[in-house]
Amino acid sequence: MLAYTFKRLIQGVITVWFIATATFFAMHAVPGDPLANERATTEAIRKNLEARYGLDRPVTEQYVLFLGNMMRGDFGISFTQENRRVNDIIRESFPVSATLGILAVAFAAFGGVVWGALTAIYRNRLPDLVITFLVILGISVPGFVVAALGQLALVDINAWLGFSLLPIAGWGSIRHMIVPSMVLGLGTMAYLTRLMRSSMLEITNSDFIRTARAKGLPPTRIFLKHQLRNAILPVITVLGPSIAAITTGGFVVELVFAIPGLGRSFVQSVQQLDYTVIMGTTVFYGAFLVFMVIVVDLLYGLIDPRVRLE
């Protein structure tokens, strides 16, 4: 187990290095001048700015410098917010994105398991049809539409109630978290519902369930211990990547609900060619994703006794 963990971590480090290298060179290959602005500046200022960000050196040398700084966990100073360190930007805004992401995943996971199991139990009957219809809707309607509609609905609900049931946008209290996290988790929940449904159906028809029933186990026990526990495995598998995907992909929800997450920096940095922020956020998100995949693989061994980690 320990050796396996170690091996996976080494692989992870190599993956992150690869992500960093690919992003670094892709970024420098993107046309455009990160220091260009509407107002022209003098040659002297230009030189000073280039020196400040190390742009006066050849790209390979910049790359070596970047790797060295990255090892020390330092991503430098932002190009657009000139007195802020990229590390500070990540440290301040990632917890917000993570909070939103964790809640969205919790919402998606529980919802997915419950709805999925329900549809499997009521297979081809009315509840199944209704839920399946909603699931298809949830998968096919893009996030920004759901976010906008959710917000609009909230405005009307608040107006109808005559007081603010839940805030329309912003961040800070529990009440701010509920709607955005549900909106963000909706697509994943729909996906997990489908996954759970098919996996439940497969297991319900398997031999060991029949055996369990034949030997007279109480239905509750069969359902919880044998059906649910086995059916949930595929859900766990996709959970890790979806935590990362949801946490890193909340940009639209963050925009619509004016949430101060990292998604904004991530997207804006690319549009503004903010080299240091691009590298910082990409490497950070990459490492996060890789880490989540490893965690899920390790969890697998705990949940499914058939899986041996070696």
């Binding site: 107002r39 022209a40 961040w171």
Partner: protein
């Protein structure tokens, strides 16, 4: 079987909800100890005299010496004060300086002895000298250093040819600031309202080092408000500055900014919900606002937008007849009404926007631009002449460089079809992100480009010198000695009527020579709670300006 399972599922669902709520509680508790966000209040509060507003984006730079964007400018305009400031009618009024004198060779400012920093110490002439010297110091790498080139030796210092202490500004005493000009600057009173000219106290800046202006506690204020909280990207709070010399005139106690977003649907939803005291409208929200009979207002943000031509030798757009042909079929009215179709935008047919002040009133009313009579037939004649002069049978496809925004796309496509339809010219659209558009614009890699320019001060020269051959921002490389001569007059003369005549001449040359094709002035439409009064929306300076704002009972 299935009933038992459903019961199990209900329990599981309940447990899930419980865990979800527990998670929220735990995470919000964790957020309060790390100090992430804060709960937003209502749109306004008559008792505490506070309002809630939004910002389009996180202010990128609150070091006044290096700031270059309007969002930072808006925040700085509330928490800092220069020698002079603009009032609600855009007239220059006393700020830190109580009186001033502008001569052809320099200026003197007498500072009021009641001006204080937020820590209670007086604002002195030395604070201005320090700030201005560091602005032009190339080590500061300020994008806006050029705005201090009117001060003697500013440009030389900024180009590393002289040390910063050679800058033509002296503190005669704590309360008298004397400035030597590099060249006459009749509008220097307007220049010193600009953030780059704001004071900074040396000892405070030194105590913060590179952290200066990075956080609320790393700033020292001398404006009507102080910043008491700055959670980056999330939340800003401004409170009345109790040390401000004119504190009795400031009627708001607090300005809360808990929403950092430019998403207009969100803003309007927040306004409807009573969480924002004002909101900007996009085209869709404008229609809704009209239906709801909201009181919609408009202001121009001061910027002008146009098609620039490339005057580099190998470019066909260097040919006057070709430019004339394009000019004769380009109708700013149609572009604003049919193509852009966003309320608040105005057609532009001059280098100078309609809001610019002239001699006594507005420049454009005193000096209307020569009219262009649109004519496709005339245009075709000019096109034929152009082909002859260029020695070609067909004009090669023209590259139209444009930003990758929805509006720029719409415009570019309109021009493409317009010039094909009327002149049978092929236009190749080159869509780029802003940084790359600027880079290509600088490099001259275009025939035509959709560009814009925002003003720095309320004098026509802020637009007029754009096409001077010696201006680094003249990316078209337009070079006309007659035009340059007029710019020199406007720069050097202290006779306002001679200057205005020079601007009128620039306006005429720009049209006569078809130097560019003006299209529109950008405008904004917004709604505001009727209880809030005294907010100033302006084309120049702090925008929006809540300095003189106050709340009244619902009318």
């Amino acid at each position: 079987m299935s009933r038992a399972a459903v019961r199990q599922l209900v329990w599981l669902g309940l447990a899930g909800t419980g865990i979800f709520i527990a998670l929220m509680v735990a995470l919000s508790w964790a957020a309060t100890i790390t100090g992430g966000g804060t709960t937003a209040g209502r749109a306004f509060d008559l008792d505490t005299k506070s309002i809630t507003i939004f910002l389009d984006d996180e202010p990128p730079q609150l070091d006044s010496r290096r700031t270059s964007d309007t969002i930072s400018g808006m925040v700085l305009g509330h928490i800092m004060e220069g020698l002079l400031r603009y009032d609600a009618r855009n007239q220059v009024v006393p700020g830190v300086a109580e009186r001033w004198e502008i001569r052809p060779t320099g200026a003197t400012f007498w500072l009021r002895n009641t001006a204080r920093w937020s820590d209670g110490k007086p604002v002195t002439a030395h604070d201005f000298v320090f700030a201005w010297r560091t602005v032009v110091d190339p080590a500061t790498a300020s994008d806006y250093a050029f705005i201090l080139y009117y001060v003697k030796n500013g440009e030389a210092i900024n180009s590393s040819k002289m040390p910063p202490d050679q800058l033509g500004v002296r503190a005669i005493s704590d309360s008298v600031l004397e400035v030597d000009f590099e060249r006459p600057a009749a509008f220097f009173d307007k220049l010193v309202t600009f953030p780059t000219y704001f004071p900074i106290r040396q000892d405070f800046q030194a105590s913060r080092g590179v952290r200066y202006a990075a956080d609320a506690q790393d700033l020292l204020f001398n404006g009507p408000f102080v910043m008491t909280r700055w959670a980056h990207g999330a939340n800003i709070r401004l409170e009345k500055n109790q040390e401000y010399w004119n504190r009795d005139a400031i009627r708001l106690n607090a300005i809360d900014i808990p929403y950092i977003t430019s998403d207009t649907p969100t803003l309007v939803n927040l306004f409807k919900d009573g969480s924002l005291v004002w909101a900007r409208l996009g085209p869709e929200q404008f229609e809704e606002a009209m239906k709801l009979r909201w009181n919609v207002a408009r202001y121009g943000d001061g910027s002008i937008w146009y098609v620039d031509f490339n005057f580099r030798p190998e470019r066909p757009t260097r040919n006057l007849n070709l430019r004339r042909a394009l000019q004769l079929v380009t109708d700013p009215n149609e572009i604003v009404n049919r193509v852009i179709a966003i309320p608040g935008y105005k057609p532009l047919n001059s280098l100078f926007p309609a809001w610019l002040p002239g001699l006594n009133g507005l420049f454009r009313q005193e000096y209307p631009p020569p009219a262009i009579t649109l004519s496709i037939d005339e245009a075709r004649k000019h096109l034929e002449m152009a082909k002859k002069e260029l020695g070609v049978d067909q004009i090669p496809p023209l590259v139209l460089l444009s930003d990758d925004t929805i509006l720029a796309n719409k415009e570019a496509e309109y021009f493409q079809s317009l010039y094909k339809r009327t002149l049978n010219l092929d236009i190749r659209i080159d869509k780029q992100i802003f940084k790359q558009r600027i880079a290509k614009h600088n490099a001259g890699d275009f025939d035509m480009v959709l560009a814009g320019w925002g003003p720095d001060y309320a004098d026509p020269l802020t637009f007029g010198d754009l096409y001077a051959s010696f201006n680094g921002n003249n990316r078209s490389l337009y070079n006309n000695p007659a035009y340059d001569a007029q710019v020199r007059i406007a720069q050097n003369s202290t006779d306002q009527s001679a200057r205005m005549d020079a601007f009128a001449e620039m306006q005429r040359i720009m049209i006569e020579d078809a130097v560019h094709l003006p299209t529109h002035e950008r405008g904004r439409v917004f709604v505001q709670a009727p209880q809030l009064k005294g907010v100033v929306h302006r084309a120049i300076g702090t925008e929006p300006d809540f300095t003189d704002a106050y709340l009244v009972e619902a009318p």
